[in-house]
């Protein structure tokens, strides 16, 4: 054995346009060794991965997809900050080989920064199929950087990329040199003059190459100018000089300097492509256009889309249901077995009702999430997702959202948790947060047992209509709230809304499975810890302080912290027509909506033998909610099925102190307030604690307000 060479760590960033296939190159390089997080302070996904190649440990960082390195959008700012401040050793610029004129814009901007770039000509197979030819050697010579052909989604080009990385790192790549990109006679004199002045300042300002800084100052790039102003007070003279030169360029050419720079880059690329590219006049969008004749057809487009959505919904929730109940069955067996091993008493309660139930609550969503993301991966990888956004954009615009929000909103009818996770497919932060805030208004299937119980008890003949009315109320509220928020909270954040409609492609199995695997892992890792703590805490609240010998579960609940808080909030919910017991059930409902029914059973039927069906204290059910999605047409969860009927009688008889009007207000309240602890924690994980508290606050306020209007308004017009 030879002594191992010292391992060098290389940081490699992936940059490219949104549709360049960056993700597939990232997967190609890193395989399963990936971490997903957020960029500091923002909710743009940051993916990193590591791999070994020869003597190198290569850390790959996936930058957000951007069209340029200006600083107009959040994604552009992140990508630019990373390249300028963190100075990765190498930037792999992924470009769509069949669309070079556009994708090389970013390449040129990267070259201006002066980082080491490798150009990955992705989707090379499609490029070759069009009959085009490209002189890669000549291109390398003209750009002064390695150019590698790859087919990310078919796993081709990995070796070549890694070899190029190693060669660059050892500075032995034959054609690697810094080629200054000439931007044309109108700009070059001014650029040279300013660059010379920058070089004269001494220490390079902002650690940027003089020519790049000169470019940005002449372009009139506000963030960089501000940075220079603040961090280098001694170099402020440069700003004045730059402004003078900008004036001069304007006078001489009659054009905005920013536009001249764009033209200059375009000109350089056009010249480059004339030298290296021979392209028959082919149109690779032609097959996609034929498919779109049907899929985005004026009349057929929407029905077909709704058909796909129906399939996706059923794939997720109907096909997921048996898997879910199987999983639950195993969990039950498992907790039974564990209970047998434990000494009993509060330790057993803690482990079984708190820990295992908490873990179970996370696990039962897994089949849904896997299936949903399989479906979404299919839609995304084929290119249909962009069409879906195209088709539904107008409708979603009413909510202040855009087309891509449709799928998360639809999934909200099944369960809010996967729906909020699905907002990761949205491009910008504003839309993601707004969608996540509105998703819970799509009544999830976990709330259905409550509606069925109440509608059945109070509105026998019209039960179906009443439930439908509740669903409509949710949609109406989403529209109103969406319009309100997009005009107030999110008013200032808007860029041009554009969607590229990429050519249709066949999805690949590795792509789909990787996609699914990452989502599942993300979900388990991020949720696991938090939900466990939350469920243990909630369990504790409902059993502490312990009663010596509780006469009934009801007594224990009343005695617990939960019961006391429930009593304390009695006056707050009185104007809604709810007795204090309802307060307790609503509090319990923060954990999950199924718990509303089971805790109500405990509270109202403690004295009756029928309560045997729900003998445990609230938290048992609280911590182990029935799966949120067991199919929409299924009645109350099995555990409460026996009591459900009796509970209905109790409610109907008026012993619960609830009028039909108050019952309707209660249903509206359940519809609108915070759906469940999983949803809350998902929002926290995705968008931070501030948005979580905002979400809780506004939803409770909205629920209270709407219930108040229904109850008091109804009484005013003589309904109650």
């Amino acid at each position: 054995m030879t002594t191992p060479a010292p391992i060098r760590t290389l940081r490699v960033a992936l940059a490219g346009n949104p549709n360049a296939g960056k993700t597939s190159i990232f997967n190609l390089l890193t395989g399963l060794h990936q971490q997903v997080g957020n960029w500091p302070g923002v909710t743009v996904e940051r993916k990193t991965g590591t791999l070994r190649h020869g003597d190198y440990r290569i850390e790959v960082i996936d930058l957000p997809g951007t069209y340029s390195l200006s600083a107009y959008s959040l994604e552009e700012q992140i990508a630019r900050e990373f390249v300028l401040r963190e100075r990765p050793d190498i930037v792999i610029n992924v470009v769509d080989a069949a669309n070079l004129a556009r994708h090389l814009q970013l390449t040129v901007q990267l070259l201006e920064v002066g980082v080491d770039v490798i150009v990955a000509l992705n989707m090379w197979d499609e490029f070759e199929q069009t009959g085009s030819r490209l002189d890669r050697v000549r291109m390398e010579a003209l750009l002064g950087v390695p150019v590698v052909a790859t087919v990310g989604h078919r796993g081709r080009g990995r070796r070549e990329l890694l070899d190029a990385i190693a060669a660059l790192a050892e500075e032995r790549h034959s054609r690697h040199r810094h080629v200054p990109i000439s931007l044309g006679p109108a700009l070059e004199p001014a650029l040279g003059e300013l660059a010379a002045r920058i070089a004269g300042v001494g220490e390079p300002p902002l650690d940027l190459p003089a020519r790049y800084l000169a470019t940005k100052l002449l372009e009139g790039d506000a963030p960089i100018a501000a940075d220079l102003h603040n961090r280098r007070p001694d170099a402020r003279g440069l700003l004045l000089a730059a402004e003078e030169l900008r004036q001069r360029v304007r006078r001489e050419t009659g054009e905005e300097p920013a536009r001249l720079f764009r033209d200059g880059r375009r000109g350089f690329i056009a010249g480059l492509l004339r030298e290296v590219l021979t392209q028959p006049s082919s149109d690779r969008m032609a097959p996609s256009r034929s498919i779109d004749r049907v899929l985005t057809h004026r009349w057929l487009g929407l029905p077909i889309f709704l058909g796909f959505m129906w399939l996706l919904f059923n794939l997720t929730f109907t096909l997921g249901a048996p898997l879910q109940s199987g999983l639950e069955w195993w969990l039950e067996r498992f907790s039974g077995a564990v209970a047998g091993l434990l000494p009993g008493g509060w330790i057993e309660d803690l482990v079984v009702d708190g820990v295992i139930a908490g873990v179970g609550a996370v696990l039962v969503f897994l089949p849904n999430i896997l299936l949903l993301f399989l479906g979404i991966a299919l839609l995304e990888d084929t290119g249909y997702m962009a069409r879906a956004a195209f088709l539904t954009d107008r409708a979603m615009h009413v909510l202040g959202l855009h087309g891509q929000s449709f799928i998360p909103m639809l999934m909200g009818f099944g369960c809010s948790v996967p729906a909020i996770l699905a907002t990761r497919t949205l491009a910008n932060r504003r839309d993601r947060i707004l969608t996540a805030l509105l998703v819970p208004h799509m009544s999830c299937s976990a709330r259905l047992p409550v509606y069925i119980l109440f509608a059945g008890a109070f509105f026998e003949r019209h039960a179906g209509n009443v439930v439908a009315l509740i669903y409509l109320l949710g949609i109406l509220m989403a529209v109103l709230v969406g319009r309100l928020f997009s005009r107030t909270l999110f008013r200032h954040e808007q860029a041009a809304f554009v969607m590229e409609l990429p050519p249709y492609r066949w999805p690949t199995l590795p792509g789909l499975t990787l996609h699914m695997w990452h989502r599942a892992r993300l979900y388990l890792r991020k949720m696991g810890g938090v939900i466990l703590i939350a469920s243990v805490v909630f369990w504790a609240l409902s059993v502490l302080p312990p009663l010596e010998a509780p006469a009934s579960p009801r007594e224990q609940v009343e005695h617990s912290v939960l019961g006391r808080v429930g009593r304390a909030i009695g006056p707050v919910i009185e104007p809604l027509g709810f007795p204090w017991e309802m307060g307790v059930t609503l509090l319990a409902g923060f954990v999950a909506k199924e718990v509303v029914v089971s805790s109500m059973a405990v509270l109202y039927q403690a004295e009756e033998p029928a309560a045997a069906a729900a003998p445990e204290p609230v938290a048992t059910d609280a911590a182990a909610p029935e799966p949120a999605a067991t199919g929409r047409d299924q009645a109350a969860p099995a555990g409460t099925g026996a009591t459900g009927r009796d509970l209905g009688d109790v409610l109907r008889s008026g012993d619960a102190g609830l009028s039909p009007l108050a019952a309707f207000a209660f249903m509206a309240f359940v519809l609108l307030y915070t759906p469940c602890i999983m949803t809350i924690l998902t929002i926290r994980r995705e968008f931070g604690a501030r948005w979580m508290w905002f979400d809780i606050g506004y939803q409770v306020a909205l629920a209270w307000g709407v219930a108040f209007v229904i109850y008091q308004g109804g009484r005013l017009i003589g309904l109650g």
Binding site: Y67, S68, E126, D283, R284, R298, R394
Partner: protein, 163 residues
């Protein structure tokens, strides 16, 4: 068929006069199949920058493909890439109206194009199976499937301007 190549993309026979200029208008005013030469790109700086990044640049040709069913986002083709823009944003782009198509936007045109597509679906499927992959069927045998009736590239829609 006899009039091979002599159709506009709506499946109507006969070529329209080239550059039947209907005067300057915005991109949002184009009917399906019509093209325009971009004269100016307006709007707030962020919108302008994004539109230009996407290829909506002065001097480029853009073609309107179709509007979404609810008529709002509109699909355009610029530099061989298809992009959906909202009407609101398309209005920032002023164009010289070229490729005026008298049949454009007519309902019958949609039916004609759909019928043409369905007619040749079987042949198209065979071509795809043969070549494995969407993008093909063109390079190989220009077989039975892709005869007339689908002149989606108006031969004049790409004169010298796009390189």
């Amino acid at each position: 068929m006899r009039h091979r190549g002599r159709h506009c993309r709506h499946g109507r026979p006969g070529l329209h006069e080239p550059a039947g200029i209907a005067g300057p208008c915005t991109l949002a005013d184009l009917a399906p199949g019509e093209g325009g030469l971009i004269l100016s790109v307006g709007g707030p700086p962020a919108v302008q920058a994004r539109l230009r990044d996407l290829g909506f640049l002065e001097g480029q040709r853009a073609r309107m493909i179709k509007a979404a069913p609810l008529s709002d986002p509109i699909e355009y083709c610029v530099e061989g890439v298809h992009i959906g823009l909202r009407r609101h944003e398309a209005e920032w782009i002023r164009v010289d109206h070229l490729d005026f198509c008298p049949y454009a936007g007519q309902r019958a045109a949609h039916h004609a194009s759909l019928a043409a597509f369905l007619r040749e679906l079987p042949g198209r499927f065979r071509a795809r199976r043969r070549d494995r992959g969407w993008g093909v069927g063109r390079g190989g045998g220009r077989g039975a499937g892709r005869a007339a009736g689908r002149p989606e590239r108006d031969p004049r829609a790409r004169p010298g301007t796009d390189r």
